[in-house]
């Protein structure tokens, strides 16, 4: 085994043509560090191997210099030129080992287990809370995942929507930017002639967003050329100078200090963006942008900030700003909203980086948009197909609904079991029957109607039965839990039935979604599920047999659909198995 660390003299290049910075490359199992020979050089690299995706190297014998090219997961390449092929060989092997080390185990695991990515800790936390909140889910999870019927990932894969729903609920509203302009936030102490700028991360974000040039300058200068504090002091001075509105002073100061000039000059990036925007304007109609947007090239456009137009010489011209420019830019940024989350608002540096990232993403999105820009302008919005095709989740209803809907039919079945089918037995002859009927008529003729026709108690009873019946059938049919068959069963049986139903649903969902079986992984999953289902089937049977006869009928009615569903799955399994065995039997005889 080679030593845990390797150090070699290399030249670090950002591209192949780059002459490179001479320095030392230090490789350890976890990371690689490059230190430049010259102390003041900015090129320094400290990178962990888990960010490296790929490595390439030049072959020995080719007339190229011995180089190693490491590509990070973000697509940035780091090229190191070695002094000899021997060095390259050593480092190459080391990098190969370091790269394969963390990747080895998951690869092996993948072939055995589900093809799934490792859940993030956030996901895991979410799952935990979901399980805690939902006892039914917890029970299911315990039953299937702990018993190895389903893997953790399988269990949650069918509940993506649940996870999504929770996470989307969690995502908070994006907080907009304040509309107060920065310059107004400065407090001016007239006694000490001091202007105080308070730089909170929010303010920093605003500055960076409104003035891309400052943002760029910060990224470029701060860690290397000047301290964080110096940068902001300089910026504040620039702001102060602008506030003072003395263009000549501005110009003079700018000439002295090139960094200060950077802040005072009109923002090049902005100007570039504006020009770009105008180029993109649809010539036919676009109310959003017109020539007026291009205020930058019109010298006398609008009023000069804080009134009083000044005729200025061309030298100080670039340092002039109009109130409109500032207002426009500020409102544009406010309207765009923040792309940097509150979480990143820690210190100025992280703000700068986060903003840079979001800019990058925007640019990529813009580039994509650019490509499709033309046709999109031609299209009419309402003639386009809906852009999003939301995934419709498989919706299996709450078992309660099902049982409630079964209620009326179960009622009926129990009542009408022998409707009109069996003729009633009558041991009277025709004559006797007619005779008795005539007797009744004679009786009523003789004694008149019953008095009272209906006893008051009976009338009240009928009345309450009717009203109850009407109101229940009108409002509570299938809704009132007390009315459902399920709730007339003892609580334990009811619980058990509901639980079985939920588990059967879960199993069936997984079962049917694994067909057609294309991989051995699916095959083993289906086998596991089948075993679990047959277990439940046996449990149902047991439950049915353990009951007394009066309950058994009702429970049988409720269980039947469950058993049917299970049976269908089993049959499918058997048929599939047969087909497979037939196929595999054929193969040796037929083509391979």
């Amino acid at each position: 085994m080679a030593s845990e660390k390797v150090t070699r003299r290399v030249k670090y290049k950002t591209s192949v043509k780059d002459p490179g910075t001479p320095g030392r490359l230090l490789l350890s199992m976890e990371k690689l560090i490059f230190r430049s020979n010259s102390q003041n050089s900015a090129s320094k690299l400290d990178m962990e191997f888990r960010f490296i995706k790929n490595h390439k190297y030049t072959k020995e014998g080719s007339n190229k210099a011995p180089m190693l090219n490491l590509t990070s997961s973000q697509g940035v390449s780091y090229i190191f030129e070695f002094e000899s092929y021997g060095d390259l060989q050593v480092c190459k092997e080391f990098v190969g080992k370091a790269l394969s080390k963390p990747g080895d185990t998951p690869k092996l695991k993948d072939t055995l287990e589900a093809p799934s990515e490792q859940p993030s800790t956030q996901d895991l936390l979410l799952r935990m809370t979901l399980l805690q909140e939902n006892s039914e889910l917890q029970k299911l999870h315990k039953e299937f995942v702990s018993n190895g019927v389903l893997t953790e990932d399988e269990f949650w894969a069918s509940r993506k929507k649940l996870l999504d729903g929770v996470s989307s609920r969690k995502s908070k509203q994006r907080v907009g930017l304040k509309s107060v302009m920065l310059s107004e936030q400065a407090t001016f102490d007239s006694r000490t002639k001091r202007v105080t700028y308070s730089l909170t991360p929010e303010v920093v974000r605003e500055i960076f967003a409104e003035k891309p040039a400052i943002h760029r300058a910060y990224l470029k200068l701060v860690p290397n050329k000047m301290a964080d504090k110096d940068f902001w002091t300089k910026l504040c001075r620039a702001l102060y100078l602008q506030r003072e509105k003395n263009i000549n002073v501005l110009a003079a100061e700018a000439a002295e200090d090139e960094e200060l000039a950077l802040f005072l000059k009109p923002d090049e990036i902005l100007a570039c963006e504006t020009r770009h925007k105008i180029r993109c304007v649809d010539p036919t109609l676009n109310m959003e942008a017109d020539q007026g947007d291009d205020y930058t090239h019109l010298p006398d456009h609008g009023i000069v900030r804080d009134g009083g137009k000044e005729v200025s010489e061309s030298q100080s011209e670039p340092y002039r700003r109009t109130l409109f420019q500032d207002l426009n830019r500020h409102s544009a940024v406010v309207l765009e909203g923040t792309t940097v989350d509150e979480e990143h608002l820690k210190d100025t540096h992280s703000v700068a980086e986060a903003l840079a990232r979001s800019r990058q993403a925007d640019k990529e999105a813009d580039a994509n948009k650019e490509r499709f820009n033309r046709p999109q302008l031609m299209e009419l919005e309402d003639l386009q197909p809906p852009k999003d095709h939301p995934l419709a989740a498989l919706c299996i209803k709450d078992p309660r609904d099902y049982f409630d809907s079964q209620q009326s039919s179960a009622y009926k079945t129990s009542r009408d079991a022998s409707i009109g089918m069996e003729p009633m037995k009558c041991n009277l002859s025709t004559q006797e029957a007619y005779g008795s009927l005539r007797d009744s008529i004679a009786e009523i003729k003789a004694s008149g109607l019953m008095d009272p026709i209906v006893a008051p108690e009976v009338a009240v009873k009928v009345f309450s039965v009717l009203t109850h019946n009407i109101s229940s059938s009108r409002y509570h049919l299938g809704k009132n839990p007390r009315e459902s068959i399920l709730d007339r069963l003892p609580a334990s049986i009811k619980e058990e039935l509901l639980h079985h139903w939920v588990s059967i649903q879960e199993l069936l969902r997984h079962y049917w979604s694994s067909y057609p079986i294309t991989t051995s992984y699916l095959y083993s999953k289906v086998t596991r599920l089948k075993d679990a289902m047959s277990k439940i089937d046996a449990q149902l049977q047991e439950l049915k047999e353990s009951l007394q006869s009066d309950l058994r009928h009702q429970v049988t009615l409720l269980i039947r659909p469950m058993q049917q569903a299970l049976e269908a799955a089993m049959q499918h399994y058997d048929a599939d198995l047969q087909k497979r065995s037939a196929k595999s039997g054929e193969r040796p005889n037929g083509y391979v």
Binding site: S408, S409, Y411, K412, R415, D416, S418, I419, G420, M421, P423, M424, K425, C426, N427, L428, S429, T430, Q431, E432, A433, Y434, S436, L437, R438, S440, I441, A442, E443, I444, K445, A446, S447, G448, L449, M450, I453, V454, A455, V458, A459, K461, V462, F463, V465, L466, N469, I470, S471, S473, R474, L477, Q578, K579, A582
Partner: protein, 296 residues
């Protein structure tokens, strides 16, 4: 009386055609005696007549072998024997019913004992519809008719077609058929009749309070009904009888031409004469065999 082309419409009148089951075999086995039943019904009829002066009640007896009108409140001559115990209305009705029973008994053929046949519901439904049609065509007033079946004996599957035809004709003439079934089990025919015509089907649980049921559910006129919450069926038995053996079936064959229902496969429809093609069973067997062949 000259027929008036345009009828007067009054929403609070009603013509109730009551079909009373007088099947002696049923009443012999029923827990509710026929005299008790009659006293509930007679009191109910009286209360309908009391509700509105223009209300009309027609009673049709549904016998085992025949059926007939036993009472019509519009033509009642009130010259029945009035005695202390019973008003004229009832005595006329009871008299006619007794006569009807005698007639019905005479019509009966010798049957195998021990079997209870059903009542001739289809006949009495037809009589009721005919009566209503006559009133539609004559008289100044739209009668706002409805039919109330007071049935106890079980359904006769052999009457299926006739009863269904009556039901559909009632539906067409917008006559609701209410039904109150006092037998042991639910009646599929009456459930369907009430369901299709928009009437109310009630199976009283407490037969000794029959009058209360009748008055609460069936006494109000059709106009009032729209604003009342009347009992609604939990479910309707829609099973049909086959045309060949007149048995109630859950599943069967239906003629693709005339929709006749059969319990078995026939070569030819007995109703419309359509000749059916190759039996489906054979086809599936063949295809089954075909499909299975490569597997074995």
């Amino acid at each position: 009386m000259a027929s008036v082309p345009s009828k007067l419409y009054s929403d609070d009148v009603s013509l109730v055609v009551v079909l009373v089951d007088t099947n002696p075999f049923f009443w012999a086995t029923s827990s509710l005696s026929f005299s008790q039943f009659l006293s509930h019904v007679l009191a109910f009829l009286n209360s309908i007549l009391l509700l509105n002066q223009l209300n009309q009640v027609v009673v049709i007896a549904t016998g085992h072998n025949s059926c007939d009108y036993v009472y019509d409140s519009s033509s009642a001559s009130h010259h029945g024997v009035e005695n202390r115990t019973i008003p004229a209305l009832y005595s006329v009705l009871l008299q006619k019913m007794e006569e009807f029973l005698i007639k019905d008994e005479k019509l009966g053929k010798q049957e195998s004992p021990g079997m209870i046949a059903s009542s001739l519901l289809s006949g009495s439904l037809s009589l009721a519809l005919c009566y209503i049609q006559r009133l539609f065509r004559t008289g100044p007033l739209h009668p706002q008719p409805r039919i109330l079946c007071l049935q106890g004996s079980s359904d006769g599957p052999e009457q299926y077609v006739a009863i269904m035809n009556s039901i559909f004709s009632a539906q067409r003439s917008m006559v609701p058929i209410d039904s109150c079934y006092v037998g042991a089990h639910n009646s599929a025919f009456l459930q369907q009749a009430s369901y299709i015509t928009g009437g109310v089907y009630v199976k009283p649980q407490h037969l000794d309070g029959l009058f209360q049921y009748l008055v609460t559910v069936f006494a109000t006129d059709l106009h009032c009904r729209s604003s009342l919450q009347l009992p609604r069926p939990a479910g309707v038995d829609f099973r049909a009888s086959c045309f060949c053996h007149k048995t109630t079936i859950d599943m069967g064959y239906v003629c693709s031409v005339c929709l006749s229902i059969f319990c078995k496969h026939h070569k030819k429809c007995s109703t419309c004469g359509s000749v059916f093609g190759q039996a489906q069973a054979d086809n599936s067997a063949v295809s089954d065999r075909k499909r299975k062949a490569p597997e074995t």
